[in-house]
Symmetry: D2
Subunit: 383 residues, 4 copies
Amino acid sequence: MRKVCVVLSARPSYSRIKSALEAINNHKDLELQLVLTASSLLDKYGEVIKNVQADNYKVSAEVFTLIEGETLLTSAKTTGLGIIEIANVFNQLQPDIVVTIADRYETLATAVAASYMNIPLVHVQGGEITGSIDEKVRNAVTRLSDIHLVATKKAAERLERMGEDPDTIFMTSCPSIDIASSVERKEELEYDIVSKYGGVGGDLDLSLGYLVVLQHPVTTEWEDAQEQVTKTLRAIKDLNYNAIWLWPNSDAGSDGISKGIRIFREFEQADRIRYFTHFPPEDFIRILHHSRGIAGNSSVGIRECSYLGVPTINIGSRQKGRERGKNVIDVGYDYDEIKKAVIKQWENGHYNSDELYGSGGAGEKIAAILADIELSIQKSLSY
Amino acid sequence: MRKVCVVLSARPSYSRIKSALEAINNHKDLELQLVLTASSLLDKYGEVIKNVQADNYKVSAEVFTLIEGETLLTSAKTTGLGIIEIANVFNQLQPDIVVTIADRYETLATAVAASYMNIPLVHVQGGEITGSIDEKVRNAVTRLSDIHLVATKKAAERLERMGEDPDTIFMTSCPSIDIASSVERKEELEYDIVSKYGGVGGDLDLSLGYLVVLQHPVTTEWEDAQEQVTKTLRAIKDLNYNAIWLWPNSDAGSDGISKGIRIFREFEQADRIRYFTHFPPEDFIRILHHSRGIAGNSSVGIRECSYLGVPTINIGSRQKGRERGKNVIDVGYDYDEIKKAVIKQWENGHYNSDELYGSGGAGEKIAAILADIELSIQKSLSY
Amino acid sequence: MRKVCVVLSARPSYSRIKSALEAINNHKDLELQLVLTASSLLDKYGEVIKNVQADNYKVSAEVFTLIEGETLLTSAKTTGLGIIEIANVFNQLQPDIVVTIADRYETLATAVAASYMNIPLVHVQGGEITGSIDEKVRNAVTRLSDIHLVATKKAAERLERMGEDPDTIFMTSCPSIDIASSVERKEELEYDIVSKYGGVGGDLDLSLGYLVVLQHPVTTEWEDAQEQVTKTLRAIKDLNYNAIWLWPNSDAGSDGISKGIRIFREFEQADRIRYFTHFPPEDFIRILHHSRGIAGNSSVGIRECSYLGVPTINIGSRQKGRERGKNVIDVGYDYDEIKKAVIKQWENGHYNSDELYGSGGAGEKIAAILADIELSIQKSLSY
Amino acid sequence: MRKVCVVLSARPSYSRIKSALEAINNHKDLELQLVLTASSLLDKYGEVIKNVQADNYKVSAEVFTLIEGETLLTSAKTTGLGIIEIANVFNQLQPDIVVTIADRYETLATAVAASYMNIPLVHVQGGEITGSIDEKVRNAVTRLSDIHLVATKKAAERLERMGEDPDTIFMTSCPSIDIASSVERKEELEYDIVSKYGGVGGDLDLSLGYLVVLQHPVTTEWEDAQEQVTKTLRAIKDLNYNAIWLWPNSDAGSDGISKGIRIFREFEQADRIRYFTHFPPEDFIRILHHSRGIAGNSSVGIRECSYLGVPTINIGSRQKGRERGKNVIDVGYDYDEIKKAVIKQWENGHYNSDELYGSGGAGEKIAAILADIELSIQKSLSY
């Protein structure tokens, strides 16, 4: 039995790997070791761990690493502490393979610990392009990784051009689409979001339609985070649409976003914006499916929503360069641009489904590769 | 004045950057901030800090990060602690540019701290190819870096193929050659090595000629380190040549190398092998110049010795793939192969100088680039 | 000039040392080095650093150490990280004396770093008695300290009985009383609290009188924190008095307190409770002075309020054993008890001032001792 | 079954707790969790872990925490890292009781982690008196501990005077004496020390009798360590007695001791001094028993040797204040004093056995107490 250790560090990682977790768990030659770290453990970021446990996954280790401050300095230090702590966990669990996901800053801690300890490292979602520090992190993780499981053809091509060994690159599609494709998309949302998830802020009348909003700080522009989010808040408020607003991830600048939201919430009457900390993956898909669109800068707008056909208003530089479908309108941090694009998408209705990031089955493919591939930690560029 | 923070982590880093330190120090638009960390502070690795201070450089911060154990686990943890500590130093010194050198595992700590803190990062000696974890580390550091100062044309080409922006890649040659080219190479060594540097072990009769030996563990083969070095020890001993043997750097497996040496030293009479912890850069060049050859797996055999024409017996996989001149014979971890190659090189005498890694002036070029280049932390692949 | 390094870790430390900071700063033979760490840097705990800067103190170092989680595990880890970080700061600042204050868990990090580095350590507010982990922390800090500046005669006697050298024990009174005694206590509060400090929650009509509430988790009972605070919330709400409620410090269990408050705030209509994160020391004294009483378990109710004569309703075990004046009524975590005691104190009006913890001048005495005392790190019990 | 977690941090801890480990292991109501940390894992300090494993104890966790440097700064940082790491281990093992031993600086890491995590803490060997930082550490650990198992009546009395609850203090005698009392002391040493343990340095002719030497740095005088040890080396060398010399523990200043030994070894012909890194507890007792005396500043000279009647030359301030028997002569760091005392003790022969620190059975008593005592983490001084 190969022991496959998957490290989750934040809310979005779970959606992006859940179908693979299930497939690994069900595979006769694989044993899943699930490690939760950083914000995935914390109440204020939605306690992903509760979803994970509710979904009946055994958590092999919980690793607290987040140093408070939400500055660049604390991001660096959280990563350092993460390496120290995660290295211990690997030493104890002795996995045959470590899996790290995507490009958040904490993923580098997993990648360094595994590669320095001579454990074959698998990277899911390499080869993409974005802005922010994510761009550097993703490519650094690629260089430390022995096996690459990518979401799109272009991503695979890019890794090959970079000199990664073609035999180690697999186009599996994106596991986040597995959830989108497996959730039954009914005519109406079968539960009341507010009764089920609470939230704080304005009252919603969801029968009038609603927008989902999710805006993270861009770490390379982190000092502008508060100002950036305030523009979005104002635009949405003035449109007077119902909005389901998700708190940001934990990053340098999150503090600015949160402050922006808190100040706005106290001083401006925004009766139709309600704030939530987290939805489990399937419910989030359902909420997106029934929405009139998603605004902000989450990759969900690019990835899951291209498949779901949900209109996306993508704000700012965070997703710059990422492959996208027709469902996306890009705008700057500008009140008027945002407002105009939101109206347009709200009126547009759903787009056709685009299978750019896959159409299901990625999790199964990933498990099969992890079970079959020959493992090695010796690596050199193919040129 | 641009504040340029150079972080040294180990004995070899100093030789590889010293001429640049001097040029930065002398440049009217640059202010040097020198940070010493990891083994560069420790007595048992030669206390590089003493050379640095003897050379009149002001040390802006001393950062103890080395967690004892010399295992893969402690390498990972040392790197994590390094990030935490170095991030503090950057926060305090507020440099405009951070410079990290080559590919030892600790350099990644510098790279993560700087890039996560939005400080423009300069990497010296990227784009090369080797074995060991160094290969992964070097390329990961490349991905976190904003500016690349490389030693050879091929290195520059490789970075461009990887998608690094050509405007950020500069072929400066290798600053280690600056020292080799500036030291006057006299007919005879003007001092007695043993009186000046002590060392422990056998007595040397240097008038008979001598070999330099320097063999590090290969971290991806770290459990074999003791066995690997013992083969070299036995081959050198049986040849009965005088040998100036340098203790290894601090890595996973160094413990194995040290144990191999200690056991050999106690139980086998090797009257002509003497062990030293460290020579300052210039004296090391002189010692190499007057030697009959260098054996082991240090990059000095590839880099400085190609310029000096000193015969090199390169053992094992550590330098695999690195560009080399005619002065190098490659052998496996094999008693007979090593012995045969050492005899051949000992008899061969010096080779012609090869300017593959430069011929001086790299330090000046580096300082000029650091003073003039436009700084940015926004980065995306050129494809 | 003796360099005196004072380390603040949390909101209350500032009030308890401010007058000494001023006296040190003004003393011709002393140089103040002020270090801020842990929650004193964080927005969500009131950003003590802003008050400090507004009061024109130069901050020598800011040290982020708080690992998120607010569990016992993260308290321990925060302390470990604190030692690592604060040791660096001492290494850089090279103080002649380090001052640590009171008994919060993070103070032990300061005490370990200083004592292990052979820096004479001064402890302010040793020799008192309380419940919670504070009791262990305070006495452990005493044992690591070379000089003891205590607030009461009984505290001095206790230290002597413990075997501390009488020549190192000084009864200076409590510097927190210096602020209480220096603030002019006018007939009416000269500003509107809500306009000046915002806060969130119900509207207040302060002309009807108000209560101050401040309830921290007891770390040795941390799992009950949410339940404990909910009883207080319910009692205060049902009384329908105006309440100025301060968020708790950062401790294991703070999360429970915060959750208790958030849930209560969303689901129960408490129109007269308003939540604040922090008041600067002087304004906090003014707010206390004009209040009808303070409820909760802060030492402010015991210390400053005994001098101010403000009625205190002290809830639970946190202050168990601490010397107190007549202004205090002790109650358990019990709805009825709390309600009854609040009513009684509200009706009682102010008590006579009690000088148990001093009557001003402690800061001056502390500075004089720090300037004059012979320093030593050699210590042994007096029996 | 109560889970009892014992944390060993260094070579001497094992001798001081071994008989208790055995008794815990054999007790029907106790489950032993053994954690090794700091220098107990390291080859250069004798790899205590190998003895432990040879003695068939299962090691529940290995925790690397030693930050290289052997300065005061790195001692502090090692302690900080120790808290972070050991807290993780406690979180994973969930012990009912934690046991920490004696007064080395790293023991405070165990004590902080346990007490901050609300785990009842047992301290073995509190209440004694010495010099160095050990004095502060021991008493700080006492204050964090809930149960005290002490070696002498005076130690018990001291703890009571300090205000520790008499119901939590137990005089068990010192478990190190259990080994001394259980090892059969034959007429002759039944093996050849050099063949069995190697060592480096001069040849020994043990038939002429021999001295054991063990001198640690005094951390509060750490900068004098090299000079201090050189005086002992010179005195022993000039006497030309056979000497079995043990390398020091890992402390601030060990580097000075090691340097002193290395320099002495290279430059002075000391044909009868041989250096060893470690002996297992039982063999160490045998070696002591057959020796003519022990010189240095180890507590072994005070504790085990009072029972064995082995003459002790105790040098300097490290054991200042510790209760001692008639077998001890105290001297300063002075060549003549040391020489004179060594001659006197060498000629004196063995003393009568003194049961000051016990006569066996401590381990059994400790296990019985751990099994029976009511556990609590609430603590307050008895006055």
